[in-house]
Subunit: 140 residues, 2 copies
């Protein structure tokens, strides 16, 4: 039997951590030395940016869970290697403070070690995020 790719376990654990605030699974699938970056306007969204180590990543996932709820996501493109994965995804979120819907595309490149996330780089369609979450550059 082929083992399930680490991406699927990590993805389920991450979405469970965000939507149900249950981070036990997520903790299992993150390496102690994880290197994590979500590129984007950190000055507007403090849960973006770089984090190092499992504790910092679990903490930022907790912050994300306090800010958004995931309604659905579609994986539009996917590449899997032995210990690597990249995908482009379309998310439907709700911003919890304003109850606003946010539709957002992102791309990620991830590397796993012994089934645990070691490195991830995420790029957001940040103009869309700013426009929807904050009302848009034209309307402030």
């Amino acid at each position: 039997m082929m083992a399930e790719h680490s991406l699927w376990r990590f993805s389920r654990a991450l979405h469970r951590a965000i939507n149900e605030r249950q981070s036990d699974d997520l903790e299992t699938y993150i390496d102690e030395d994880v290197d994590w970056v979500i590129y984007g306007p950190i000055e507007l969204f403090p849960f973006l940016g770089a984090r190092h180590g499992k504790a910092a990543v679990l903490e930022v996932c907790r912050q994300i869970s306090e800010n958004v709820r995931v309604h659905r996501f579609d994986r539009e493109s996917l590449m899997l290697g032995e210990d690597t994965a990249a995908s482009m995804m379309r998310y439907s979120l709700t911003a919890l403070d304003s109850n606003k819907p946010i539709n957002l595309r992102l791309a990620h490149f991830a590397r796993f070690k012994a089934g645990r996330l070691l490195n991830i780089r995420v790029l957001l369609d940040s103009h869309e995020l700013v426009a929807q979450a904050l009302g848009g550059p034209m309307h402030r």
Copy 2:
């Protein structure tokens, strides 16, 4: 001898088309039925968005070449499959109309057929693009 991956030929041809406005090579490496999307704020940058077919893609590359010059790019993440490629890249550009420097991260997922580009999806750090090219949402 292993054949060179289609990504490298396409990448050289694209950069040559943008910087030297020589699109002969690029024309060779694009499939007639190419499906091309650069996600981003189309209302601000008309050379973003979807294009179908070789003629439309060559035309949008010509428009891009009239808007920016590429100074350098770093490929920060890369995944290669037999006929597929995904990467995250950091570009240093100049906007030709204003002579402004633009530093921009993007991710792309590409599929090739017989060595020619058949499908590409590009995601830009569009907040960064808007901020640098137009002076930023705070300063308009």
